[in-house]
Point group: C2
């Protein structure tokens, strides 16, 4: 049965799941959520996910939320990208959690404030604070990737799909690939996986849609 991913192009958290679905050749369709007009915080969507967040994956009778949890579900379903040993599996979840806490958790907010919130609504002082925290996270990831090809194991796993969630977007939020050479080369490796696509090519919705360009 075709899975449905509630998503929108600008969501790096949704991208993590869309990327896994694409690279693992799953039968799925995107369902656009009009986040910027408040759909994710509306009553109808809250019935689907009381957390008011994208992504949501509907797989038969199961309604799954939280990108890391959906990835966990898809590892179980596909038996791929989860790490092949119990030790590797824990290493995968360690990095998925780190990403949620330290990398994507900060990057998503920073990118939103810098690109999708009117300048007059931007809270003073928050962007430099988030960028400081992000710099510490990029340092950890870049150092980690200095001696290895993939984040958690000797082959790609959902830890890679999670950590790269916000790192292919063109809108500026303080991440410059050239500053982090090991991350830069790892992003090239992820992008070379069969089935890889850019977030705006994998999910409906992008800033260009809203401004009429593209």
């Amino acid at each position: 049965m075709t899975m449905t991913l509630y998503c929108f192009g600008e969501s790096g958290n949704a991208y993590k799941v869309a990327l896994m679905l694409s690279v693992a050749s799953q039968d799925w369709q995107p369902r656009y959520v009009d986040f910027f007009n408040g759909e994710a915080r509306g009553e109808a969507f809250r019935k689907l996910n009381p957390m008011g967040e994208v992504p949501v994956l509907v797989d038969g009778d199961e309604v799954l939320t939280q990108s890391g949890n959906i990835l966990y579900h898809l590892v179980g379903k596909t038996e791929r990208f989860g790490g092949s040993t119990p030790t590797a599996q824990k290493e995968v979840w360690r990095w998925v959690l780190w990403d949620n806490h330290k990398l994507s958790g900060q990057a998503g907010t920073c990118r939103f404030l810098m690109n999708f919130l009117p300048a007059e609504k931007r809270p003073e002082g928050v962007i430099p604070f988030l960028q400081g925290r992000l710099k510490a996270a990029y340092t950890v990831l870049n150092d980690h990737l200095a001696t290895r090809d993939w984040v958690a194991y000797d082959e790609p796993t959902v830890a890679d799909f999670s950590c790269c969630g916000y790192l292919y977007y063109p809108e500026p939020f303080g991440f410059v690939r050239a500053d982090w050479p090991h991350i830069d080369r790892w992003l090239d490796r992820v992008a070379a996986l069969p089935g890889w696509k850019h977030p705006y090519d994998l999910m409906p919705g992008s800033p260009a849609d809203r401004t009429g360009g593209k």
Copy 2:
């Protein structure tokens, strides 16, 4: 073999693990990390955990980091507090991830800025921003607990231990139990579990130690 938890009393993320170890009657000992004098960011500690973060659990040959990942390990080891069905297990991980991203991830930072950083170093505007995000998280959790006793299942799980990580501390960071009655009663239920202890009674280190009081 006795497990060692690298921790300090003020860390709500370490508390999540210490609480699980205590409630599940495990053989463990705390090893104090002098976070406020930089030990977690020092070279020796980074050899143990390159992420430079507490908690770290050493269990025999395994060195585990990220509270959610350590809880996952302990669920496997103890066969307790993980939810008893595959659906419940996913619900547990959904809430552990949500907590890392939306609740503890913000609360830990806000509490640090408000209580452990000298006033002149506090970044302007960040505390109200974090408190706004936290209010949205408290609302989700409080509404969720209006009709249920435990966060993820019909009995306590590590989702409860994760979500309560920062909510028993006395230092102010904008969370007032009386404002959130369903969270308040759930915290009483968690505190009534055999083996429950307050973070400052379960791990070495508290603000009182540093000021000479207690």
